[in-house]
């Protein structure tokens, strides 16, 4: 089976700083792929290229056989690409349910005219998406109790789950998670890992995730790409990466 996402010889520079140099990576369909590396290695830059925030100086990014780079950021979710952010990017002024509903934006069809009348199709799709969220998302992520609360004051771990819920609503083919375990204790990390694994096994979602915590990620993913200073220094199975001398150097800081 061809990879779902193929990143090929991608380079990106900010001014004189080379954030990414000839990065190549591929994400196999139906698997969990992890990008790891120390801070500043270029992990989030790679995500931002895939999301459409940055345009690389060279290289290609193919998703399911289509070239992603000419597409603006807002056109990419329609292909089935969802993501979360390292610093939770929820909308504080909206309730939990409304935040999650925003994840379905690209699939809903109401326009200003049908929305202001709120009859027929506009009302129906709104009811359908609410039912979908209530049945398949809220229970799964343990959010039912708080669906009508404003997200502003909720605890960090809960906000992380809401952001995951928002990304899952569109039933993405590729789910990109930027540091899903950041700031969590061991217990919460375990729980989040379970959610992620269930996304793959139950919904056939492909996951690409970033972390700098090696241990959590190595146990979860089947393929690992290690970045350091904007270059791929190793890629392969967790076992291969764990014993790779370059990776050990990068993490332990040996010369």
């Amino acid at each position: 089976m061809p990879p779902l996402l193929t990143i090929d010889r991608v380079s990106l520079a900010f001014g004189g700083v080379n954030a990414l140099t000839d990065v190549a990576a591929s994400v196999a369909d139906g698997d969990i792929t992890a990008i790891i590396g120390p801070n500043g290695a270029g992990k989030t830059s790679l995500f931002n290229i895939t999301s459409g925030f940055y345009k690389p100086a060279s290289g290609t990014v193919m998703f399911d056989g289509k070239d992603l780079l000419p597409l603006p950021a807002h056109a990419r979710p329609k292909l089935g690409i969802a993501r979360t952010f390292q610093n939770i990017a929820l909308f504080a002024g909206l309730s939990v349910l409304e935040n999650i509903k925003l994840g379905a934006h690209a699939q809903l069809k109401a326009n200003a005219g049908t929305a202001s009348l709120y009859l027929g199709p506009a009302a129906r799709e709104e009811r359908d998406v609410t039912a979908h969220i209530e049945n398949n998302i809220l229970g799964f992520l343990n959010l039912s109790e708080i669906r009508h609360r404003a997200v502003g004051g909720l605890p960090y771990g809960v906000q992380k789950r809401i952001e995951l819920a928002r990304a899952l609503v569109m039933q993405p083919r590729l789910l990109m998670l930027d540091e899903p375990f950041a700031g969590m204790n061991a217990n919460e990390r375990l729980q989040m890992a379970t959610y992620i694994r269930r996304c793959v096994t139950e919904s056939r979602t492909t996951v690409l995730l970033i972390d700098h915590n090696m241990e959590t990620v190595l146990g979860l993913s089947s393929h690992v790409v290690v970045l350091n200073f904007g270059k791929v220094i190793a890629a392969g199975t967790p076992d291969h990466v764990r014993t790779h001398s370059g990776v050990i150097d990068a993490y332990l800081g040996a010369a």
């Binding site: 990419r76 909206l94 934006h105 809903l108 009508h148």
Partner: protein, 345 residues
């Protein structure tokens, strides 16, 4: 993980009073509509005049709240869009003699298109800088109103033929304006039950996160500007037909500030806020005048009229600063506080 859920669950116990509140809310809205419809039967000409003016200003304020409150695009050119609607609608009435509702719709469509044009700067700039860019709309449209004499009548403006709704005179006009205002309030509320309204708020709060959800930030911002202007256009068309005159002095920067103040004082991103703000701002000068007429002479202020105009502006300014500082959610925020107190006890 389990702990955090318990904390969250503990705070949802107010759900039941919340539902009761929802019933009260619906009852309140129905009572308001009944009162509005019943008003002409008892009210004097003056009260009816003010009520019509309030309803027209509500329409314009609801529109500005879409642009400024929900979508977060600061605009101080709103009265110019009201002007576009007023002139377009008046010209239709004068030259084509078409019915009022059609004129108002055309005026609204014209304002929508002009709003899209002047909303374009919002794609690149935000906040105060955007507000200054919208000044361009204010001044350039005012210039057109004033200088394009063959069409707009210049400084003297246009005199609009009288419309008689169902032979009911002022009462008929009032009822029509209230009906339009109610429909447009419901439309704006509906908007925020769907993806369109959510997209406005998402763009206001985090435009990068909005993009990865598939929201086209450019289209969303333009739509927010256009819709706000379309509401302004409706208000303008009705205003022209109501006052039976359209001239540039109605569409000054001060008028734009008036509507911005209505949004801020009433409550940003809130329908109730638009209603309260527009009502308060329209009636405040009148309440002030009444107060001064009673209090003025004993205090030695004989020239009440001369005193009133500067005082009004001082109070406008103080209200805006006061609300921004003490209650950024405006009058609607005060209502919310009262509700929270009531449901807690």
């Amino acid at each position: 993980m389990a702990d955090s859920i318990d904390i969250a669950a503990g705070k949802t116990t107010q759900l039941v009073p919340g539902r009761q509140w929802a019933y009260w809310q619906v009852a309140g809205w129905i009572a308001l509509i009944i009162a509005l419809v019943a008003l002409p039967a008892t009210a004097s000409g003056y009260v009816l005049f003010m009520a019509t003016l309030v309803a027209i200003n509500v329409i314009a304020t609801v529109g500005l709240n879409i642009t400024v409150g929900y979508a977060g695009l600061l605009s101080i050119g709103h009265s110019a869009f009201i002007g576009v609607g007023a002139y377009a609608s008046a010209l239709m009435a004068i030259h084509l003699g078409t019915p009022l509702l059609l004129n108002v719709m055309v005026g609204s469509a014209a304002a929508f298109l002009v709003g899209l044009v002047f909303g374009a700067p919002s794609l690149r700039i935000k906040g105060v800088f955007l507000a200054i860019a919208t000044l361009a709309a204010q001044y350039s449209l005012y210039f057109v109103f004033q200088q394009w004499t063959p069409v707009t009548g210049g400084d003297r403006g246009l005199s609009v033929p009288q419309v008689d709704i169902l032979g009911m005179g002022d009462k008929g006009f009032y009822l029509l304006v209230v009906a339009v205002a109610v429909v447009l309030c419901i439309a704006s509320r509906n908007l925020f039950r769907t993806r369109i309204g959510r997209a406005f708020i998402a763009v206001r709060e985090r435009d990068y996160a909005a993009q990865v959800l598939g929201i086209d930030v450019v289209r969303t911002k333009l739509l927010a500007f256009g819709l706000g202007a379309a509401y302004a256009g409706v208000a303008g068309g009705l205003m022209g037909a109501f006052l039976r005159i359209v001239n540039p002095d109605q569409f000054t920067l001060l008028a734009s500030v008036f509507f911005l103040a209505a949004v801020v004082v009433g409550g940003q991103a809130s329908l109730l806020g638009s209603l309260l703000g527009a009502t308060f701002m329209t009636l405040m000068p009148e309440m002030l005048r009444a107060t001064m007429e009673v209090l003025g002479p004993p205090l030695g202020a004989t020239d009440v009229a001369g005193f009133l105009s500067p005082l009004r502006e001082v109070i406008f300014g103080a209200m805006i600063v006061g609300f921004l500082y003490f209650e950024p959610r405006g009058l609607a925020g005060l209502v919310e506080r009262v509700r929270a107190l009531a449901t807690r006890s």
